[in-house]
C-alpha cells in the first residue's frame, strides 16, 4: 500500500523533501512506518524524530488525515492512501 508523508519545519530540511509517497506493507502501524523512515534517513532526520533511547520525541506532532494522533503509535494501523503530516515544533522571531 502507499501512504503519503508530509514533513514540516526542520524535518523537511532534514528529509530534503516536504512530501513523499512511501510503499508499506498492508497492516503497518504508524510506529513501524516512522521506524522505517528513521532507519532509512538516519542522521538529522532520526535525531529530530527520536531521542537517545529510541523513543519518539514528545514534541513531535503527527497528524493522520489532518487529525492529531495521540497515544500509542503501535496501536495506529495505516491504510492505503493515508495522509500523514510529521511536524517538528517552530516558533516566532
Amino acid at each position: 500500500m502507499k501512504v503519503t508523508f508530509a514533513y514540516t519545519g526542520q524535518l523537511a530540511g532534514a528529509a530534503g523533501t516536504a512530501e513523499e509517497e512511501v510503499e508499506l506493507e498492508v497492516g503497518t502501524s504508524l510506529a513501524a512506518a516512522l521506524a522505517k523512515l528513521t532507519a532509512s534517513y538516519g542522521g538529522k532526520f532520526a535525531e529530530l524524530l527520536v531521542d537517545g533511547s529510541g523513543a519518539t520525541r514528545s514534541t513531535l506532532l503527527v497528524a493522520l488525515n489532518d487529525e492529531q494522533v495521540s497515544g500509542d503509535y503501535d496501536e495506529v494501523t495505516l491504510t492505503d492512501g493515508a495522509n500523514l503530516m510529521v511536524m517538528t515544533p517552530i516558533a516566532g522571531g
Partner: protein
C-alpha cells in the same frame, strides 16, 4: 464598553459592514487590550493589523535593540532605528499610523518575574516569541488566568497559528510538553511569510475579541507558502497535561 464616536465610524466604516462584525464587534475591539510578545517578524505586522482594526490598547513586549538582521521582516522598525530599542520604533510607527489607540511598550521579554503581571493586564495575548521558554511562560499564565492565547509560529516558507482558549481547548503544553531540544533562535524565513502568518493570527484574535464566529478552536491552522496550501489539523487536549490538565 466604549461607545463608538462619529470619528470611529468614519475610520472603521469599511469593516463595520462586515457581516458578523458591525458596530457591536467594533465596540468590543475598541474596549479590548491586546498584549503582543514579541514585535518582530510576526508580532510587528500582527500589532499593525490590530492597530488598523481599532483595538483599544496594545501592550508591546520586546527587549533589546534593533539589529541589521531584523530588517527583512520587522516592519514596525526602520533602518534609522538601528541600535535603538525596538519598542520605541514600534510605538512611533503605530502611533503615527493610528493615534487613536493606546500603545504601551515594555522593553523587556517575558520572564518568570513579569509574566503574571503582564498577562493580567491583557484581554488576549499573542505569542510571537522565538524561544519556547517564553512561549511556555505565556501559555502557563494564560491558562492560569483564563485568558485567550493566539500562538503564532513560522519557519522557512511555512507557518502555523493555534488559537488557545483555556477551558475550551488544549494548550501549548498539550502539544509540546517540553522545550524542543533542536529548536534554534536563528532560523530561515522571508518577511512576507511572517506577515502572512501574523495576519492569520491577528484575524483569529479579532474574531475572538469581537464575538465573530469561525474561530478555529482545537485546530492548528498550517500554511505552506511554497505551494500556497492551507491545512487545518484537528488537535486534541492532553488529559495528562501538566499545565491545563487536572491537578
Amino acid at each position: 464598553m466604549a461607545e463608538l464616536s462619529d470619528q470611529d465610524r468614519a475610520f472603521y466604516e469599511w469593516q463595520l459592514d462586515v457581516p458578523g462584525f458591525g458596530e457591536a464587534g467594533q465596540e468590543k475591539l475598541r474596549s479590548a487590550t491586546a498584549l503582543v510578545s514579541r514585535i518582530g517578524g510576526l508580532g510587528g505586522p500582527l500589532a499593525f493589523s490590530l492597530a488598523a482594526a481599532g483595538i483599544g490598547k496594545l501592550i508591546l513586549v520586546h527587549g533589546g535593540d534593533l539589529k541589521p538582521s531584523d530588517l527583512n521582516r520587522q516592519i514596525l522598525m526602520h533602518h534609522g532605528a538601528l541600535d535603538s530599542p525596538r519598542t520605541e520604533a514600534a510605538r512611533e510607527t503605530l502611533q503615527r499610523f493610528n493615534p487613536h489607540i493606546e500603545v504601551e511598550v515594555v522593553a523587556e521579554n517575558f520572564t518568570e518575574e513579569n509574566a503574571g503581571g503582564l498577562v493580567k493586564r491583557a484581554d488576549i495575548v499573542f505569542d510571537c516569541a522565538p524561544l519556547f521558554e517564553e512561549r511556555f511562560l505565556m501559555n502557563r499564565e494564560c491558562v492560569r488566568q483564563s485568558k485567550p492565547l493566539i500562538d503564532c509560529a513560522m519557519y522557512n516558507l511555512e507557518g502555523q497559528v493555534i488559537p488557545i482558549v483555556p477551558g475550551e481547548t488544549g494548550c501549548l503544553a498539550c502539544l509540546y510538553p517540553e522545550v524542543p531540544p533542536h529548536w534554534k533562535r536563528r532560523f530561515p524565513v522571508i518577511g512576507a511569510v511572517s506577515a502572512l502568518i501574523a495576519n492569520i493570527g491577528a484575524l483569529e484574535g479579532i474574531k475572538l475579541l469581537s464575538g465573530m464566529s469561525g474561530v478555529n478552536l482545537n485546530q492548528m491552522i498550517y500554511f505552506d507558502a511554497s505551494t500556497m496550501q492551507i491545512r487545518k489539523i484537528a488537535l486534541k487536549k492532553n488529559p495528562d497535561c501538566e499545565v491545563c490538565g487536572p491537578r
